[in-house]
């Protein structure tokens, strides 16, 4: 079905965009390297391919006049999510360009900012490309040639967004999202628990403590009552 296909492609695009965002965060920091720039390039190429195919599919679906009402609503929802995703991607690409130009790697005019991030980002890129693992070695002057290409790609993405908006007219105010506020909590318990453990090292979450204190006082009160009863029984 067209709808499931579109949804699957949108999910893939979403995943790639999220990974790209995560990688761009570290540009200019201590984890910056030619490898990172190459990973960025691969990720954004994948994202662009996905965007082109998803966009084409969605455009075709929405320009089809003979579409049922709830189908249309569904596609419009997908369309809004898709264009938002593309906006995020475009903005991240521009920021990557600015940061990449500001922190050139081949001739270190400027030292990289010591942000404390030192690890490898290959697993993030592998996730973006849906590959098992990524082992590569970028050449020394990769980022220079990459920057020009990146500029071109940014413009292309912008044009693509414009094109799509011209072809399909989806008024945003009529679209209602499926997810309610707090929907993310329902199906993400497993993810939440481990992350809580990770973050709690720096910021101890205080929410447990009051309930724990309450439970402790209650238990001790019950214990005292039991001890008092026992004593009274003994006395009797």
């Amino acid at each position: 079905m067209a709808r499931e296909e579109c949804k699957a492609m949108l999910d893939a695009l979403n995943k790639t965009t999220a990974c790209y965002h995560h990688l761009v965060l570290t540009v200019g920091g201590s984890a910056d390297s030619q490898n990172l720039r190459e990973e960025l390039q691969k990720t954004r190429q994948k994202a662009r391919e996905l965007a082109v195919t998803t966009g084409a599919r969605l455009t075709v679906a929405l320009r089809n006049r003979g579409l049922a009402a709830e189908d249309r609503a569904e596609f419009e929802r997908l369309w809004v999510a898709f264009s938002g995703c593309l906006d995020i991607l475009e903005a991240d690409m521009q920021r990557a360009l600015a940061l990449g130009a500001a922190f050139p790697l081949h001739t270190p005019l400027r030292p990289l900012v010591r942000t404390g991030v030192t690890g490898d980002s290959s697993r993030v890129a592998a996730r973006a490309l849906s590959a098992r693992s990524l082992s590569h070695q970028a050449e020394r002057d990769f980022d220079v040639s990459d920057l020009k290409e990146l500029e071109r790609e940014v413009l292309q993405v912008g044009e693509m967004i414009n094109d799509m908006e011209m072809k399909v007219n989806v008024p945003r105010w009529t679209v209602q999202a499926q997810q309610t506020a707090g929907a993310e909590l329902l199906s993400s318990n497993s993810m939440g628990a481990s992350s809580v453990g990770a973050v709690s090292v720096e910021e101890p979450s205080r929410s447990c403590n009051p309930s724990k204190a309450l439970a402790a006082t209650l238990f001790s009160a019950v214990l005292l009552a039991a001890v008092a009863l026992a004593l009274s029984v003994v006395k009797l």
Binding site: N14, K15, T17, H21, H22, L25, T26, V27, G28, G29, V80, A81, G84, D87, I88, A91, Q94, R95, L97, A98, L99, A101, P104, R110, P111, L112, V113, R114, T115, G116, T118, V124, R127, D141, V144, R152, V154, L155, G158, I161, N162, E165, N169, R172, W173, V175, Q176, A177, A181, A183, E184, L185, S188, N189, M191, G192, V196, V199, E202, S205
Partner: protein, 526 residues
């Protein structure tokens, strides 16, 4: 390759202009070429791309203000802070870093507050107090963040550890912090904390859910995916990135009670006045000298003298001021009774006593009041010097009248007042008369100014004192009416029946009957 990369460094805009379709990149405006329909829904207005070529000492992200609405930069331009942070990163000359130990993970690049302050003192040769202030500014703008208490962005000059913010989140880039990003961040936090958000964050979350409801699917999807992507990293990196993002949002969406450092107050926004050129041209200094010389030569009155004059003025005018001394019969704004205005109309049969007294303050007062002028004219007619006042009035008309009437008016004045043997010949001294007659050949608005002044001074010195002492004036003073104050109502809440004014839509045909009718109507209502 080196030439290419040098081109990229030095003047990146030129390097980019090689291919024609890249010219749009260097424009300072928004990046979408041509008009686009997304303007209203564009939550992520991107800034411009190209920073200046990074040469040492140049800011990284200068000129990256987005075209349509650049944020006003105050005196503390953010890229000065950025430059300082970059200098701190130098491996030899920069700030000393240590490692942070957390149970099992070790994260490098931690800086203590005292190190930062000491580095600032050493590098900029400033006092410790100033270094502390600078350091706390850096912390407030989010360039360094504390590791122990991440919520309070303040610099402490002791062993508290800090870390540097990643350039993506620097405030000097002026990239807008979009609602969509904030929503994604809050959703991520929601997932991580199992719904236990801080109060103001919860409020923001609900507001955003209403505001950008249409993209909420995307928000949830992105939040989940970003968390999954972060899990692919080492634990230490994950922590650092989470802290960086938190600091960014603390700066861009401060919790209630914390001042927003990114806001520019109204007085700071106008930076134009502060941008003084250091070295001006020669002409500028010549003009300044001339202006200062003229300023020295201006007549000045000692404040002791003008304050005395001010005191006498206030003393004299005090009882005449309706606000200071109350107005009789009653304040129309308070009691809806316009007797006060009726009594003090420009032309009225019986002038009030205060008004007649005012004629005695100065000649100008007398002439400005139409009634005063009329009485003065009567007096002058008795003294057979009325032509002075007529001439003066004619000159006023010339000065303030229409441009087209000037030639005819000047002619009339000449015929009536200035020609030898005229009907109402005025007595002007010979020099002024010569000058005026010469000027009459090219008549303009101010051609009779000298003559008018002469006559004015004559009247003021001569006729005016006599008028003040005359019987006519004293008679007016005696006859002048002091209006009675309206009786205060015993029951203030009983409203006086209001006379409704005739509707402005209707033509004012019947005055009395309508007023009587509406008064009756008002009575019935109350």
């Amino acid at each position: 390759m080196c030439g290419g990369c040098r081109g990229l460094q030095r003047n990146t805009p030129q390097a980019v202009r090689d291919s024609s379709d890249l010219t749009a990149v260097t424009a300072a405006g928004p990046l979408r070429p041509g008009g686009h329909t997304l303007a209203a829904w564009d939550y992520r207005r991107p800034g411009t791309l190209v920073p200046l070529g990074p040469s040492p000492g140049e800011p990284l992200f200068a000129g990256s203000a987005p075209g349509p609405s650049p944020r006003p930069l105050g005196p503390l331009v953010p890229w000065k802070m950025e430059r300082m942070v970059v200098r701190m990163q130098d491996p030899d000359q920069g700030v000393r870093t240590r490692s942070q130990r957390l149970l099992i993970t070790v994260i490098p690049h931690a800086v203590t507050g005292s190190d930062v302050v000491e580095w600032l003192v050493r590098k900029l040769c400033i006092s410790e107090e100033e270094a502390l202030h600078l350091g706390s500014l850096l912390a407030q703008h989010g360039y360094i963040y504390p590791l122990r208490e991440p919520r309070s962005l303040a610099l402490r000059p002791d062993e508290t550890p800090y870390r540097f913010q990643t350039p993506y989140f620097w405030t000097s880039t002026l990239w807008p912090a979009a609602e969509l990003d904030y929503a994604i961040y809050l959703t991520k936090k929601n997932i991580q904390r199992q719904g236990a958000l801080v109060t103001h964050e919860k409020e923001h979350y609900d507001q955003l859910h209403k505001k950008i409801n249409h993209t909420w699917d995307l928000v949830v999807m992105q939040a989940r995916e970003q968390l999954r992507a972060a899990k692919q990293r080492r634990k230490g990196d994950r922590l650092v990135i989470a802290c960086q993002e938190q600091t960014y949002w603390l700066v861009n969406r401060p919790p209630p009670g914390v001042p927003n450092v990114l806001e520019q107050g109204p007085e700071r926004g106008s930076n134009n006045a502060n941008q003084v050129q250091m070295s001006q041209s020669l002409d500028f200094y010549k003009r300044e000298i001339e202006w200062s010389r003229k300023a020295l030569g201006r007549t000045r009155v000692k404040s002791s003298i003008c304050l005395e004059a001010f005191l006498t003025f206030s003393h004299q005018r005090g009882p005449h001021d309706p606000i200071l001394a109350g107005c009789l019969p009653s304040n129309p704004w308070v009691t809806d009774d316009d007797a006060y205005w009726a009594m003090n109309a420009p032309t009225v049969a019986m002038p009030t006593k205060l008004r007649v007294e005012r004629w005695g303050f100065s000649f100008r007062e007398l002439l400005d009041d139409p009634m005063g002028r009329a009485h003065f004219m009567d007096f002058l007619q008795k003294e057979f010097s009325a032509e002075n006042l007529s001439f003066w009035e004619a000159c006023e008309e010339l000065r303030f009248g229409g441009q087209a009437q000037i030639p005819t008016l000047v002619d009339t004045v000449y015929q009536q007042f200035l020609a030898p043997g005229a009907a109402h010949w005025v007595n002007i001294d010979s020099r002024t008369m010569e000058r005026t007659l010469e000027g009459l050949h090219q008549p303009h608005r101010y051609v009779l100014d000298d003559a008018q002044l002469h006559i004015y001074m004559l009247m003021k010195k001569d006729s005016y004192p006599r008028f003040m002492k005359s019987d006519m004036y004293q008679g007016l003073l005696a006859e002048a009416v002091i209006p009675l104050e309206t009786k205060r109502r015993v029951f203030p809440f009983m409203r006086k029946p209001r006379l409704s004014s005739p509707s402005p839509a209707l033509p004012p045909t019947s005055g009395e009957p309508s007023a009587a009718g509406s008064a009756a109507g008002g009575d019935e209502e109350s």
